[in-house]
């Protein structure tokens, strides 16, 4: 590498990292509990246990669940139902009206049903209330700093700078290491040198993981615009023939259980796990939208939405997802680390802690730099044998 090229890459590494470091520290600290969100959620859940039933007991009909929910909140709308694959529970999301649902998230609330008995197990006052308050707080700090879409895009940009920092860091790694064995940590000479060696060691060792989690983090932050793009292109085209059809009130809808059964019969290899009711901004005005997924480790991450006509109850279409939403779906597990059991989550948490060390040591190296940055770079290069040996010391 020429001296000029090194200087340019070093400049890029320094500034891309410095700009994002404070935000990345927030992301790393809040990401730590988020790795264990399922475990923490289960631990904070003080609700009653599920009814013990003989094995093979069928789930209650979604129609009776819908009936119970509507009887509890007459005049309100059911927005969606979520049928858990791991636990025998059915979550029903409700709101006073579709207008309220679309305009005000805090109008949402949910009811948790035992899937075997159809009994109400818990209810929330608002959508975020389930002792999940702590996790919600961590998620907001991690994802958007309470700023909604602009916050998501901003944090996505910070994640992108982090990826630039990782890549440029790997590029400038080589000149530093030219005369050193891999993993050398010089503890005797100075504190700064020790932390430089630790920064290089930890950064290059976990560089691949940091790049993967960074890139998938950027993609995750783009989920709102990506789904928006899909809605105004594919989904709009799909629904175009039905434009002008009268909107149906909830009492006029076909049976949600029948819609669910239709999908299961049409797609025997898939698991259906949620029903978005007609009229939802996340669905279709005239259909039940039923999210299905595969059963293999990877395909269980790939969702396919199926539309069922909410008048006739007939299957309308199985929608194939565009490539950019497939990329988003694959990037979720690779960002969350939730796809390999508890040991993988623990590894994820340890990687996260090492990343904090990389960030902190990088910040320390910058703060303890010599007065002029050019001088500092020269000093770094010289002290690490990036130039001819006679120039050292």
């Amino acid at each position: 590498m020429t001296r000029n090229a090194f200087r340019r890459w070093f400049w890029l590494h320094k500034w891309s990292s410095l700009i994002c470091t404070a935000f990345l520290l927030v992301i790393c600290v809040t990401g730590l509990p988020l790795v264990f969100r399922d475990e923490i959620g289960a631990w904070l859940d003080h609700g009653p246990p599920y009814a013990s039933v003989p094995e093979g007991t069928p789930a209650v009909s979604l129609d009776s669940v819908a009936g119970t929910a509507r009887a509890l909140y007459p005049g309100q709308i059911i927005a969606s139902m979520f049928i858990d694959g791991d636990e025998p529970k059915i979550m029903v999301a409700m709101a006073p009206s579709w207008d309220a649902y679309a305009s005000n998230r805090s109008s949402w609330h949910w009811i948790k049903f035992d899937a075997h008995t159809g009994n109400v197990m818990a209810q929330s006052q608002s959508f975020s209330g389930d002792g999940g308050g702590f996790i919600e707080l961590m998620l907001s700090l991690h994802k958007d700093l309470f700023a909604g879409l602009p916050g998501e895009l901003f944090m996505g940009l910070m994640a992108l700078l982090f990826v630039v920092g990782v890549v440029s860091g790997v590029v400038v790694y080589a000149p530093f290491m030219r005369r050193l064995d891999f993993g050398t940590v010089r503890t005797a000479r100075s504190r700064r040198l020790k932390w430089l060696d630790l920064h290089n060691l930890t950064g290059v060792t976990l560089g691949a993981w940091m790049a993967v989690v960074g890139v998938t983090g950027v993609i995750n932050e783009l989920s709102t615009p990506l789904f928006g793009l899909w809605q105004i292109t594919d989904v709009k085209a799909l629904l175009a023939p039905l434009r002008g059809e009268p909107f149906r009130t909830q009492s006029e809808l076909s049976s949600p259980q029948a819609a669910f059964d239709t999908v299961k019969a049409a797609l025997p290899d898939m698991t259906a796990n949620s029903v978005i009711f007609p009229g939802s901004p996340f669905g279709s005005p005239h259909h039940y939208l039923i999210w299905t997924k595969g059963r293999e480790p990877l395909t269980s991450r790939l969702f396919s939405p199926v539309l069922v006509d909410a008048r006739s109850g007939k299957l309308a279409s199985v929608i194939s997802m565009p490539w950019y939403l497939r990329a988003l779906e694959v990037s979720r597990p690779l960002h969350f680390g939730d796809y390999g059991g508890l040991p993988l989550k623990i590894l994820w948490a340890l990687f996260d802690l090492v990343t904090i060390i990389v960030l902190g040591s990088g910040l320390y190296l910058w703060l303890s730099r010599r007065s002029s940055s050019e001088q500092a770079e020269r000093e770094l290069m010289v002290s690490h044998g990036a130039t001819a040996p006679e120039a050292a010391e």
Binding site: F182, G207, A208, Y339, L344, L347
Partner: protein
């Protein structure tokens, strides 16, 4: 001559980082794509190695010499 020396130093600089990056990517994908428990176990082992390397270089390397 110079070329051979620089290729040697290139290999020496990059063999460990490249091997560790390969292990990491293998570990990340084997748990995602593998269809049986063995792939999860391989993933855990592969991903533990970079952490062991960091711990070894930081704390034990001098003592091991």
């Amino acid at each position: 001559m110079t070329k051979r020396v620089s290729r040697h130093s290139f290999v020496r600089t990059w063999r460990w980082p490249v091997a560790l990056a390969g292990l990491t990517l293998f570990g990340l994908l084997s748990a995602l794509l593998g269809r049986s428990g063995i792939w999860w176990a391989l993933s855990w082992i592969a991903l533990t190695i970079p952490l062991v390397v960091i711990a070894f270089c930081t704390y034990l390397r001098d003592a091991a010499r």
